[in-house]
């Protein structure tokens, strides 16, 4: 396998794809948002319970490629317990990782997604769930779609 492809499908990603964390609806959710990627048909719902400014619980549901499913799964593990401001900061870091391939300063599983940058068509797969999560945090019922973002 080429270096690019093994960078893309890292063990962390394969693991989250095989055994997604926090998958399913969240009965106690007080926020949710739907995201879709019209060009490939990937779907992602994010459910979360905001406790004041803090993400107390978060789950996702949806279908898509290994990159999109693993990204959604990993995202839920990263966002749980964070404040909304921290969540936005984390998304900016993640966005930087998947578009530039630069690894984060602090050790983080998000680094597993650095290989995505070599596959520009897959960046949308990695960011879909994050867009939905940010919309849910904002209470923006409008559907997140990768078509309205550059990535």
């Amino acid at each position: 396998m080429s270096a690019d492809l093994s960078d893309l499908y890292q063990n962390v990603i394969l693991d989250h794809n095989r055994r997604p964390r926090n998958r399913g609806k969240l009965p106690t959710a007080n926020r949710s948002a739907h995201g879709d990627n019209p060009s490939c048909g990937d779907q992602c719902d994010v459910f979360l319970r905001l406790d004041g400014d803090r993400i107390a619980e978060i789950t996702f549901d949806g279908s898509g490629c290994a990159i999109s499913q693993a990204s959604a799964s990993l995202m839920t593990t990263q966002l749980k317990g964070k404040t909304t401001t921290e969540a936005e900061k984390l998304y900016k870091e993640f966005h930087e990782i998947v578009t530039s391939g630069k690894e984060p300063e602090e050790i983080s599983d998000l680094a597993a997604f650095a290989g995505v940058h070599a596959f520009p068509a897959r960046i949308k797969c990695a960011t879909l769930s994050w867009h939905a999560a940010l919309n849910a945090i904002k209470g923006d019922a409008a559907q997140a779609t990768t078509e309205s973002h550059k990535d």
């Binding site: 396998m1 394969l14 048909g41 279908s63 990159i67």
Partner: protein, 407 residues
């Protein structure tokens, strides 16, 4: 003289390249086919020697260009056995052709409560234009169901679906997702008996099998150049002349009027009425050359070639674990689409690309059908005249490797 088949890959220099360190195996022909040298050279030659705007030109180049453009129209007429060149309207492609029928014929003929009958296997391009005109006219869209594991149209349901309210039946000749070849002549005959106008989406059949509009008996037929060894940006709407002459223009501009006053205008007959503005004459010339290329190979031979590769791919892929292959087991168009348990189509396509194998993964602009089949996406391998059996080996090996990785 050696047959064009013997040296066919030499006609397509794009195929002789390495992708990711492997010989390119191009199996994305249902999306677009490659173009032979005879076509790209004809386009080059046209721009190098003959280019000028068509019609109304009194100088030599314009006359030459007009002759070439109208010659291409006649060539396409012969290619699909239409009665007259006036029945051939050049468009940007299948999508624009269907939009033309829906907007022009539809706005003049559809009323509230009328039924537009489609099938569940339509590409979005033969679905969304009808939904749009239904919204504007109050007509209703209904669908002939796709039935069974093999993805055939439920013809038994036709009698109950063909009600007096049905004004138009629009269907795909060959499904881009299932590979099903629909019985176009039978469908058109049954519709015609009831005075229902028929529209055939021939995007996936035109380059792969004989297509004869009089044998099919359709009123309209739409196709794209780029899926039949020709260039992008050119397509055709065939329409029976009696229908075309009764239809209003759908776009206004130069070239389509017989006279213009400040108070109003009068239109030319078909085809000019439907070709407002400078037409895509250069690509139309290339389309004519593609007709020559395909007839040189023989379209019955092409159908046999592509169908045999698809059948072999179907059989060989069937042996892979966890695979679900869509569409008929027997005769099919030159494509196979399939899904694996637990491995998403886009991951499969990314892995295949690593092996130099170009596939397509996704919903194939067929979202309602995918939902019905309980799928979100499939992988599609589609074949054309230059594909060879050893490329099926490469396809199957790549799929096996991918499955092993994700197991």
């Amino acid at each position: 003289m050696p047959s064009t088949w013997d040296s066919i890959r030499d006609q397509f220099p794009i195929l002789a390249q390495q992708v990711n360190g492997h010989p390119l195996v191009y199996l994305d022909n249902a999306a677009t086919t490659q173009k032979p040298l005879s076509v790209t050279r004809a386009l080059d030659r046209f721009y190098a020697l003959d280019n000028a705007n068509v019609h109304r030109g009194l100088h030599a180049l314009s006359m030459r260009s007009t002759d070439a453009y109208e010659g291409a129209r006649s060539r396409v007429r012969a290619f699909i056995n239409a009665e007259a060149p006036e029945e051939i309207i050049f468009t940007r492609g299948t999508t624009e052709s269907i939009n033309l029928v829906a907007a022009s014929w539809g706005s003049a003929n559809l009323r509230k409560g009328d039924v537009i009958l489609l099938t569940e296997m339509e590409h979005h391009s033969n679905l969304v234009p009808w939904q749009l005109i239904a919204q504007r006219t109050g007509a209703i869209v209904r669908y002939v169901p796709v039935t069974g594991d093999e993805g055939l149209l439920d013809l038994a349901s036709l009698d109950s679906l063909l009600t007096p309210q049905v004004k138009v039946l629009a269907f795909t000749h060959v499904s881009n997702t299932l590979g099903t070849i629909n019985p176009a002549a039978e469908l058109c005959a049954r519709a015609r008996k009831l005075g229902i106008v028929t529209v055939v989406d021939a995007a996936q059949s035109i380059g792969h099998m004989p297509v004869d509009v009089r044998a099919i008996g359709c009123d309209f037929l739409a196709f794209s150049g780029h899926k039949m060894a020709s260039v992008t940006g050119i397509g055709v709407l065939y329409g029976r002349r009696a229908l075309l002459d009764a239809m209003p223009p759908w776009q206004g501009g130069g070239g389509m009027i017989s006279s213009v006053d400040f108070e109003g205008s009068r239109w030319k007959p078909s085809p000019e009425r439907f070709e407002a503005g400078t037409p895509n004459f250069a690509d139309a010339v290339a389309l004519g050359v593609s007709c020559d290329f395909l007839d040189g190979l023989g379209r019955d031979k092409i159908q046999h070639h592509d169908g045999a590769l698809a059948k072999e791919a179907y059989d060989r892929l069937s042996e892979l674990p966890g695979i679900r292959i869509l569409g008929p087991r027997g005769e099919r168009g030159g494509l196979v689409s399939f899904a694996f348990d637990g491995v998403h189509a886009h991951d499969v396509v990314t892995f295949a690309d690593e092996d130099g194998v170009a596939l397509r993964g996704g919903h194939h602009c067929n979202q309602p059908l995918m939902k019905k089949l309980g799928l979100t996406s499939t992988v599609r391998a589609s074949f054309y005249v230059y594909n060879v059996r050893s490329e099926i080996d490469a396809l199957v090996a790549s799929m096996a490797r991918t499955l092993k990785f994700f197991a």
